[in-house]
């Protein structure tokens, strides 16, 4: 009797490789969203009206908005579930720790994936409470996203928090964008150097572009 598709998917997911494939795929989706999100956000530089128009467009296109939200939520759920499962197993895989730990040949980013990931998770929650629901925003106007943005980032600590968060996202992506090619088996030693360099470039550029928003607002370039 041949295994059903469901069985096959489940036994695939039961392996660590299967979980990493899910992480890689969802990670790439989340990354794709970040790119789109950035393209939307930088419209703030074209002026508050432009930005608000973009936000309104989104809200008037519920299929796009909710479609994206559902995909993102599922991705994040998949990504985080796999993390929880993998790191549980990881703890069991080495019950006794080394007295002296060394990290040879590993980048800081690669060693801090869990840390940067959890920080990103915390940031996402904060970010949603901040700009989507306004729960933690002191001066939230549901109909004026541009205002929400500018009023938030004129507070130096908030701006700084976002810049730091972007640094962590950059770190996460720097390793993630190389690691996912390994997880999906599409890396090639010939291109490893280039993949890593591009991962660095893309992650830093992306996050620098994001971070430019609070920085430029704080510096009153955007009003």
């Amino acid at each position: 009797m041949s295994a059903t598709t469901a069985d096959r998917i489940s036994s695939f997911y039961q392996t660590s490789i299967g979980k990493k494939v899910v992480m890689a795929a969802t990670g790439v989706i989340l990354f794709g969203f970040l790119v789109g999100h950035l393209l939307g956000n930088v419209q703030i530089f074209a002026g508050a009206d432009k930005f608000n128009a973009y936000a309104e467009f989104l809200h008037n296109t519920p299929s796009l908005l909710w479609g994206t939200r559902i995909v993102l939520l599922l991705s994040l759920f998949g990504h985080v579930t796999a993390v929880v499962q993998l790191y549980r197993a990881r703890a069991e895989a080495r019950p006794v720790q080394y007295k002296v730990k060394r990290n040879r040949g590993a980048t800081l980013a690669s060693r801090l994936m869990l840390v940067s990931g959890v920080a990103v998770f915390a940031f996402i929650i904060f970010h949603l409470l901040h700009f989507t629901t306004g729960t933690v925003h002191g001066d939230f106007k549901p109909d004026d996203p541009a205002h929400n943005l500018i009023s938030a980032f004129t507070i130096p600590t908030v701006a700084l928090a976002y810049v730091v968060a972007m640094g962590l996202v950059a770190m996460h992506l720097y390793h993630g964008l190389w690691s996912f090619t390994q997880s999906l088996g599409v890396s090639h030693p010939r291109y490893t150097g280039r993949i890593k360099a591009s991962a660095m470039l893309v992650s830093v550029a992306l996050c620098a572009a994001f971070a430019s928003i609070p920085i430029l607002i704080l510096a009153h370039y955007v009003k």
Partner: protein, 258 residues
């Protein structure tokens, strides 16, 4: 000839059940020409003469090829020298007065048997699950009936150079056996002779690797950095690719293991 002194902090553990702990030993006269294991031999000679239990460590060929030796020196699998097993590591790489912490490979899948000796039977079981080409004795065609492109053969050889020492697992922050398993899969799946069983092989070997309780791969590359045969983590990507492909192929029967 330079001689110098060292302090060793060695993990001593009587057997699998014993909790174990570090014991410090002063080694007053180390010659720079000794290998690391010869230095331990000298320490052991001293212990035996005093009626103490010598430090147990695994070794056999002392030539860097059998893969028997291996432990952590200050957090480095096989010590600080690249591409070198601990049996080939020589004392000239150390300084007078250094303190060295010697610990066994640590992983749930590699239980400590005594002191620095661990059980790596999990590796054998991964091979038994599918790390072979089924070619019963006598069934082979002429050697040159199967032409193998030189690049494929060379890459297969690169992967086949694995000595199964376990340093990759020991050094990996997640205790993954991905480099070991990936190396064998790459060796066999790169060759034409390995094709008939390629899909079944990867499914079975990965399945066994999971069963043994190794961790997952985060692509940190620490395994590659300490591998005495410098096997690249490219082999892990290959394994993943073959595994995804095999899992996606509807016609492929389930793993042979179950």
């Amino acid at each position: 000839m330079r001689t110098f002194s060292l302090t060793l902090h060695v993990w001593r553990q009587k057997n699998t059940k014993d909790p174990g702990g570090f014991v410090a030993y002063k080694v007053p006269e180390v010659s720079e020409h000794m290998s690391f294991l010869e230095m331990l031999d000298v320490v052991n000679e001293g212990l035996i003469v005093k009626g103490d239990d010598p430090i147990a460590f695994d070794h056999d060929c002392r030539e860097g090829i059998c893969g028997t030796c291996g432990f952590m020196i200050n957090g480095d699998a096989h010590g600080p020298h690249r591409g070198t097993t601990v049996c080939q590591l020589h004392m000239r790489h150390f300084q007078d007065g250094e303190e060295l912490w010697l610990e066994p490979w640590r992983a749930a899948a590699f239980p400590v048997m005594k002191d620095l000796v661990v059980d790596r039977g999990a590796f054998d079981r991964i091979i038994a699950a599918g790390g072979f080409i089924s070619a019963p004795t006598g069934s082979a065609p002429d050697g040159n009936a199967i032409l193998v492109p030189k690049p494929a053969s060379d890459r297969a050889m690169d992967a086949a150079a694995c000595i199964g020492c376990g340093a990759c697992v020991a050094m990996c922050p997640n205790s993954a056996a991905a480099l070991f398993t990936g190396a064998k899969i790459a060796h066999l799946n790169l060759l034409p002779q390995g094709q008939p069983e390629a899909a079944a092989r990867v499914v079975a070997m990965v399945g066994q690797m999971e069963t043994e309780g190794f961790g997952h791969c985060t692509s940190t590359g620490q395994c590659e950095a300490v591998c005495p045969k410098e096997i690249p983590i490219e082999v892990i990507a290959r394994m993943n690719w073959d595994f995804i492909k095999a899992s996606a192929d509807k016609r492929e029967a389930k793993s042979r293991g179950d």
